[in-house]
């Protein structure tokens, strides 16, 4: 057995190069089939009746009229009489019918009597939360009172917040469910093909061996697609009741209401520094909601280990759809609150925030030297030192320009994954693992690693993913996939290569350890004239292919992944101080993530994260109606995402020094989405001279902040 390792960067043929995603053509030509595209013979369509109230009890439910409608084949009550419903849009009953129209008509015909109960749907005003607010114990580090009271302390107090935002997957959540006897086949739209197996089995009380889950393409997940959900179980029940395949995809409105969101955070923060900018103390009173569950608790102060801290956090449960993991859970909120207050302090000290963070960089701990270098690189790419000006001291005229920055971190260690590689006698290489490509380029990464290891062109590598009958490949969350699957693939490929060598070495008059694969050949080390083409070598296998399993983690035989990435982002914005409209002119991202398998798809993650970041910073917000408890913008019209025209010049610099190469492959999907909120908001503060306290930075809030004035 070899000791597993990654190829040296200068010898790699594929790893670290710019390679286009292997499923790009399928996606742009439409041959890629998403769950939304799945149709099965005789398939029925399901629609769901959802609660119109934010908080109510179901008094009675009568589905008879719906059942009688021609074309309706089954009605399944998800939550029956007596159930207390805690948010608008929660599933009440599902209907399966021959087409979507009939199913919708049937839903309109279900009669439900509700008893409305008192609701709370807004959390920013904590004084209205009453017993819905659950404060956690205060946390104290060092001696904050003394630090704030110190004669020389310069303090700044501010209020910062980010609203609840939703995931907005392009493909909504949903399933196609089909039974054959007591075996269930499910086509989910998910980040966790394999994990759903157990969830379905448990909910339906059937053996896990009777559940087959399959998915080739998913239109986005961002953390919201790990569960079978009530509607998945409903689809399975309807399919059982009717004996026909049933497709249940969420409409856009419920997608926005119930299929996940990112918790808010609001915080009153006080920080102190010495007159020279040395950070000393942090105090925060924060609160947030993630629906009935109360929501997350963002790490604060984020990254910066203030020597003295006092923190109080309150979770508020409200009557709205539950939070789910949202690209780097909790980090964007923590980063926003922390980096904004640090920027406000810099303004008070009349310091360039870049100088302030560099001065304090040791407070970031073991990553501090890397952060320092990344800050300097980002500053160079943004021409920060030439272009930065003190607050509100930019150009005359109503449109003001400004710069802002933020830093972030993430873990990203590769998850557990197994992989089987088979080298067929015709030379084709089959890689099988139950992972899924959620748009991050997982397919491409696996193909690169297998092809690199075996020295074959990527076209020779055939991938089998997205099927729970394959070796377990893990869920795609936490930026753990790339480390997991690249490692298991590398190990399997190295073992398969070893076996191939063992079987053909004698034909080359040598032994296995003297062979190498290079550029489509298998040849004798130090004697390149002696060798086979890859195809010839494979043909020597006769009728018996070579097959090997790889597994991550397997630390005893070398670690191919590790943990801990980070980055710096800077934003350049223009603010029209008469209309309140903010435009991002340019963003710079400097990001490290260990060994990069594919430079192109890695950069692509950073571009996408910044665009998503512009969305939640400038436009996105879940708007709830206090009186009725309903969401006012469960659509793509008033829930505003950033589009192409809102996308600025973006400069991405991936950090690729020898140190990073040695760390193995680490995840990247989430971290670059953490900093944009703070970087852009800080640029707006720099441009206008005032702090717009809460995201999104919409014209009404920008104008209100300008009218109010003040530093923080």
């Amino acid at each position: 057995m070899p000791d597993y390792n990654w190829p040296e960067p200068d010898s790699a043929a594929l790893v670290g190069k710019r390679i286009s995603r292997v499923d790009g053509p399928a996606k742009v030509t439409g041959t890629a089939k998403y769950t939304y595209d799945v149709t099965r013979p005789g398939m029925l369509y399901a629609k769901v009746l959802r609660s119109p109230y934010a908080h109510c009890r179901i008094v009675s439910i009568d589905v008879s009229a719906a059942e009688k409608l021609p074309g309706v084949e089954a009605v399944y009550v998800v939550q029956g009489a007596g159930t207390e419903i805690h948010w608008q849009g929660d599933d009440i009953a599902a209907v399966a019918a021959v087409d979507e129209q009939t199913a919708e008509d049937a839903v309109q015909n279900i009669k439900v009597q509700y008893k409305q109960l008192a609701h709370l749907v807004q959390e920013e005003d904590l004084s209205k939360a009453g017993d819905r607010a659950k404060p956690a114990a205060e946390q104290v580090v060092g001696n904050p009172d003394e630090a704030f009271a110190a004669a020389e302390a310069v303090t700044v107090e501010g209020y910062y917040g980010t609203s609840v935002v939703t995931h907005c997957c392009l493909e909504s959540h949903g399933f196609v469910a089909e039974w054959e006897g007591d075996t269930l086949t499910v086509y989910p739209s998910t980040q966790a093909v394999e994990r759903l197996t157990g969830q379905f089995a448990e909910a339906l009380k059937i053996p896990a061996t009777n559940v087959h889950t399959m998915m080739q393409y998913v239109g986005g997940g961002f953390g919201s697609k790990f569960a079978v959900d009530r509607w998945g179980i409903a689809a399975a029940h309807l399919a059982k009741q009717t004996g026909k395949p049933v497709k249940l995809m969420l409409e856009r409105a419920p997608e926005q209401m119930v299929a996940g969101n990112r918790p808010s955070v609001y915080a009153k923060v006080k920080i102190a520094a010495k007159p020279d900018g040395t950070l000393t103390a942090w105090e925060s009173d924060s609160w947030s909601t993630g629906g009935m569950g109360g929501g997350g608790s963002p790490p604060m102060p984020y990254i910066w280990n203030f020597p003295h801290q006092r923190k109080r956090h309150t979770a508020v449960s409200i009557n709205a759809g539950s939070a789910r993991a949202w690209r780097a859970p909790n980090h964007p909120q923590g980063c926003y609150v922390t980096m904004c207050s640090i920027e406000d302090l810099a303004a008070k000290l009349k310091m360039d925030p870049l100088d302030l963070v560099l001065k304090n960089i040791a407070l970031t701990g073991e990553r501090s030297e890397l952060y320092r270098q990344e800050l300097l690189k980002a500053a160079e790419l943004m021409e920060w030192k030439r272009r930065w000006h003190p607050r509100a001291q930019g150009s005359p005229g109503p449109v003001k320009q400004g710069l802002g920055l933020a830093l972030h971190t993430w873990a990203g260690r590769g998850h557990a994954a197994e992989c089987r590689i088979t080298i067929h006698p015709d030379g084709y290489v089959e890689v099988s693992t139950c992972t899924q490509d959620i748009g991050t380029g997982t397919r491409t990464v696996i193909a690169i690693v297998a092809a690199e290891t075996l020295g074959v062109p990527m076209e020779m590598v055939k991938l089998n993913i997205g099927d729970n009958h394959l070796p377990p490949g893990g869920s795609s969350g936490g930026s753990t996939t790339v480390g997991g699957v690249s490692s298991s693939t590398r190990r399997a490929a190295m073992d398969a290569r070893e076996q191939l060598f063992a079987r053909i070495a004698s034909g080359l008059g040598t032994t296995a350890e003297n062979l190498e694969t290079v550029n489509g050949t298998v040849r004798v080390k130090n004697d390149p004239s002696k060798g086979f083409t890859w195809k010839q070598a494979a043909a020597k296998l006769g009728v018996n292919p070579v097959s090997a399993m790889g597994k991550n983690p397997d630390e005893a035989k070398g670690a191919l992944t590790s943990s801990g990435v980070g980055g710096v982002q800077m934003a350049d914005v223009s603010v029209d101080t008469e209309t309140g409209v903010v435009r991002v002119n340019k963003m710079v991202a400097v990001q490290d993530c260990g060994l990069i398998v594919d430079m192109k798809t890695a950069e692509s993650q950073v571009y996408g994260a910044m665009i998503m970041g512009i969305g939640y910073t400038l436009f996105e917000e879940r708007v709830m109606d206090e009186i009725t408890g309903r969401m006012l913008n469960p659509n793509m019209e008033f829930y505003k995402l950033a589009g192409l025209a809102d996308t600025p010049e973006m400069v991405v610099h991936m950090w690729t020094d020898a140190e990073q190469q040695k760390r193995g492959v680490i995840g990247l999907g989430e971290p670059p989405t953490i900093s944009p909120g703070a970087a852009i908001a800080n640029a707006v503060a720099n441009a206008t001279g005032v702090r717009v306290p809460t995201l999104p930075l919409t014209p009404d809030k920008v104008l209100a902040a300008l009218e109010k004035g003040g530093l923080a």
């Binding site: 119109p52 979507e100 129209q101 009939t102 919708e104 008509d105 309109q108 409105a253 008469e578 209309t579 309140g580 409209v581 435009r583 400038l618 436009f619 708007v623 109606d625 206090e626 009186i627 009725t628 309903r630 006012l632 913008n633 659509n635 019209e637 008033f638 505003k640 950033a642 589009g643 192409l644 025209a645 809102d646 919409t698 014209p699 009404d700 104008l703 209100a704």
Partner: protein
């Protein structure tokens, strides 16, 4: 979406006859991007607003499509798409206010589908109204949710009972261009200037215009502007991709040799239940040097405005936008 019957008339008379025969539960459809993909898809209905059982598709009537420009002005068929308007060289030359307004509507996809008739007659976007569960005045209910709710996008002028803002960008431009609508109905054709076409909630909260259920808008006529007319369109959106106006301004006016306002119109979108003609601003400018007087004139919007709890910012924005648009038109 609710099931419906589809009618495909081959001429306007047949379309009107179908509307008369079926009654108020029949509706005409242009591109369907609002009626079908919006109202019907989202079950926007109420006592005063039943969902249609039948749709009368105007796309099967060739006469309703097309752009003709002659000395007297431009005649545009109601079924002409917004994209066709945007791309018309003739319109760009003399009626740039309309082509720019049309270009600022929604996204290319929607402009390819959306027709001029549909854009002018589209239903409002008030987020309570569009939510199936809100039974408000405009749907025949007995409440306006915007008064005590989130009204950041609602009217700052002319709201009463209902506080929608008129959603159409082309309507705002057409009013500034002094255009008129040609309407066909069971009682024959009639021509209505856009000055009289739009109605506020006080007149009828269930409708936004004078069109009757059995009538069809067939074309729009825009008189050729007086020589030297300056035209300008601006639309403030929160983001750059498709978005309805926070405030839009359409201006068409003439000045004399010394830069004094001779004649013209200033119309605002996004501020009132109808495209809002700011006659107070026009009057302020009359006979005065536009450049020197615009600041003061634009400020009169403040006296007309009665903002709601969350939309006072729109007053500031409207004032700024009027000023900028007129100054922009001066070049």
């Amino acid at each position: 979406m609710k099931n419906f019957e589809l009618y495909e008339p081959s001429n306007v008379r047949e379309a009107v006859a179908t509307l008369v025969k079926i009654g108020p539960k029949a509706k005409v459809i242009g591109g369907g991007s609002d009626l079908v993909a919006g109202v019907m898809k989202d079950w926007v209905q109420g006592n005063g607003m039943p969902l249609p059982d039948a749709l009368v598709d105007l796309s099967t009537i060739p006469q309703l499509k097309g752009i003709k420009v002659d000395k007297t002005g431009a005649t545009i068929g109601a079924m002409t798409t917004l994209t066709e308007i945007v791309e018309s060289k003739d319109l760009q030359k003399q009626f740039s206010l309309l082509t720019q307004a049309a270009h600022s509507v929604a996204s290319p996809l929607i402009r390819n589908f959306g027709t001029l008739g549909g854009n002018i007659n589209q239903r409002p976007r008030c987020w309570f109204y569009r939510g199936a569960e809100f039974n408000c005045y405009k749907k025949g209910g007995d409440f306006c949710y915007s008064v005590g709710g989130d009204n950041r996008y609602h009217a700052i002028i002319g709201g009463e009972l209902c506080y929608i803002v008129h959603p159409s960008d082309t309507a705002t431009a057409l009013l500034a261009l002094n255009a008129q609508a040609k309407i066909a109905g069971p009682r024959g054709d009639r021509t209505v200037p856009f000055d009289q076409y739009f109605i506020g909630p006080r007149e009828d909260v269930l409708r936004e215009n004078i069109l009757k259920a059995d009538e069809v808008m067939t074309e729009v006529f825009i008189p050729t502007p007086a020589p030297g007319t300056k035209q300008a369109w601006s639309k403030l959106k929160n983001r750059q991709v498709y978005d309805f106006a926070i405030v839009s301004v359409a201006a068409a006016f003439t000045t004399d040799a010394s830069g004094n306002w001779a004649d013209g119109r200033v119309v605002l979108g996004g501020v009132a239940p109808v495209p809002y003609r700011a006659t107070n601003i026009e009057n302020q400018l009359k006979g005065k040097n536009v450049k020197n007087s615009i600041k003061q004139a634009a400020a009169t919007i403040r006296t007309a405005a009665r903002p709601m709890s969350m939309n006072a910012y729109k007053v500031d924005v409207a004032q700024t936008m009027v000023e900028r648009t007129i100054l922009g038109a001066l070049g």
